[in-house]
């Protein structure tokens, strides 16, 4: 398929000799304006790739931090149209940083899917991660996305054995997202050695970049994992900063943009350690 911003970004970072720092935030958390402000500032804080969560009422693969962020966005009246609006606004000032929409299938299915792909592409979306669409369901969205030039990023997990890996890789594009733990987001802490071994094994079967996420919370973890992967994803830790910054009524404060950004600045430093040896 045609080259996307994701392909270009990973290729450039490979030349630089370091892994990508991938930040996840939920679109519309805690409200549209604050979320957009935060999103716009993610690149200058060290984010190489943005994962933008599409809030869903029943996020089955997510831990409490992302569940609550989804709930905050929905309570503030967030919609799919507003998520796409955020991407469009972001693109006015940044045409390079890859944007991946992450979430669950139902809000896309009812949009419906073909219209969603057209609107997402027009808004400037580069990739999709849809948690509940495994390879068995590729005709739903994965193949149509590829046809319009949007990467469908596949998850591989500790339960993806050698037998299953080819199916997982088959229609994947952009990069492969290795889920570092068998579990939900923001809970268990991955062991870098185990993760490196798993990533190395996957790389025997693909030339695609492999990014690692789920449970990464500290700069040290970013640094450790980045030594054996092409990207490190941080989500729950950033989203928890948003939660911590809210006032008693759950509304944004002057800290709501700055605190998550400070964390991104700190953690993203971890991907540069490898350059310093």
């Amino acid at each position: 398929m045609i080259e996307t911003r994701i392909d270009r970004r990973f290729a450039a970072l490979k030349n630089e000799g370091r892994a990508a720092f991938v930040s996840f935030i939920t679109a519309g958390d805690p409200d549209l304006q604050t979320s957009l402000q935060l999103m716009k500032k993610l690149p200058e804080a060290g984010t190489d790739v943005i994962e933008l969560g599409m809030p869903f009422s029943d996020p089955m693969a997510d831990g409490p931090a992302i569940q609550l962020s989804s709930q905050r966005a929905l309570n503030a009246g967030h919609t799919m149209a507003k998520t796409l609006e955020m991407v469009r606004e972001f693109r006015k000032g940044d045409n390079e940083t890859p944007i991946i929409l992450m979430g669950y299938y139902n809000p896309i299915y009812v949009y419906p899917a073909d219209k969603f792909l057209a609107d997402a592409l027009a808004a400037g979306v580069d990739g999709l991660i849809i948690v509940d669409l495994p390879p068995e369901t590729d005709t739903e969205l994965c193949l149509p996305a590829r046809d319009v030039g949007i990467n469908f990023i596949r998850l591989a997990t500790p339960t993806t054995d050698e037998k299953r890996l080819p199916a997982v890789l088959k229609n994947a594009s952009g990069f492969l997202y290795y889920v570092s733990i068998a579990g939900i987001t923001g809970t268990a802490t991955p062991d870098p050695h185990v993760v490196h071994k798993a990533v190395a094994a996957i790389k025997q079967s693909t030339d695609m970049p492999v990014a690692v996420g789920f449970g990464v919370k500290t700069r040290q973890q970013v640094s450790d994992i980045a030594r054996g992967a092409d990207g490190v994803v941080v989500g729950s830790a950033i989203v928890s900063m948003i939660a911590d910054s809210l006032d008693g009524k759950g509304a944004a404060t002057s800290e709501t943009v700055e605190r998550p950004l400070a964390l991104v600045k700190e953690l993203s430093g971890g991907v540069f350690d490898i350059l310093e040896g």
């Binding site: 139902n106 809000p107 299915y109 369901t137």
Partner: protein
Amino acid sequence: MSSNETILNSFRSGPDEEGAFGHFGGRFVAETLMPLILELEEAYETAKKDEEYAFELNDLAKHYAGRPSPLYFAPRLTEHFANLSTVGGGAKIYFKRDELNHTGSHKINNTLGQILLARRMGKKRIIAETGAGQHGVATATVAARFNMECVVYMGATDIERQAPNVFRMKLLGATVIPVTAGTGTLKDAMNEALRDWVANVDNTFYLIGTAAGPHPYPAMVRDFQSVIGNEVREQIMEAEGRLPDSLVACIGGGSNAIGLFHPFLDDKGVEIYGVEAAGKGVETGEHAASLNGGKPGVLHGNRTYLLQDDEGQITDAYSISAGLDYPGIGPEHSWLKEQGRVNYVAVTDNEALDAFQLCTKLEGIIPALEPAHALAFVEKLAPTLPKDHLLVMNMCGRGDKDVFAVAGYLGVEL
């Protein structure tokens, strides 16, 4: 009226190898779970062909659960509905007495089948979701019987309205984990059980309580519950010498209903009615009638009719009955609706409450609030039918668990 004529194009052949009933069903799960449901499917396919498995399940069904359950002719309700009829009709009312099963509902049919499978697969830990607590109790029961660890997820709201069942599960040795996420009802409990499963893939078996979820659950649970319909076929032949003219069952996720319906789907002369919970009325938005008030979507591993808003966010179901309070429905029912084979109707809280009391007074059977919904529909249907019409309703649960809640609704202090 009835006939043994079978339809060439069978309604009983689903699902296909992808787990689809038409475009419903399927396997919409996170990658972590995909290998597990494939393993489960394989284990189930193997077990199905194993005589020893069938023998053990039948033996437990008979000596532990108390099968077969009777098919009971309900004389006073039959008379009552005849008296209500303005056209001299009424129908002969039969109850399939699955409320007499061990643990008080049809849920044990499924938990026995699944726990034997879990044991064959070498799993040591059982997780389940529950709404009314009937499935939780049935799961905790078989886990105790087979000496397995049992964790039941239950919405915090349901824990409040089904306190006796919570205590029963604890007595049976299960850990009951309250779920406060969302509205604290069945769908949230199912989310939480799925999260547990993702985090405990090696030792854990997820024992789903209804004919929903990713393939193979809808087909597997249906097969376990089909004992209901299979027994009815034999029993009604014995009692009346012919098949019934109509079948009625309540629908939460749809397991007791599909268990009654499935063996009759190709018998053209049998009219079939699934009764959803209309709560305060489908038009009020406060209901649990996915087929009557929802539209197709994807949740909990399958494509099916769901209660949702225009954005595809799942909305809260509401029903007086905790066991019907689910915003989805098993995918086979969605397909049967679109095929037009089954009629899906809905009755309100108040209608169910009236039927609950009517049944208690006239037949000396206290029904669970779930089958009270089915009976409320029978009350509307029977008076329009001819007197020789044979109607079988699934009395899928007893009302012991509901007496406190019903007292509350009737303003009686216990």
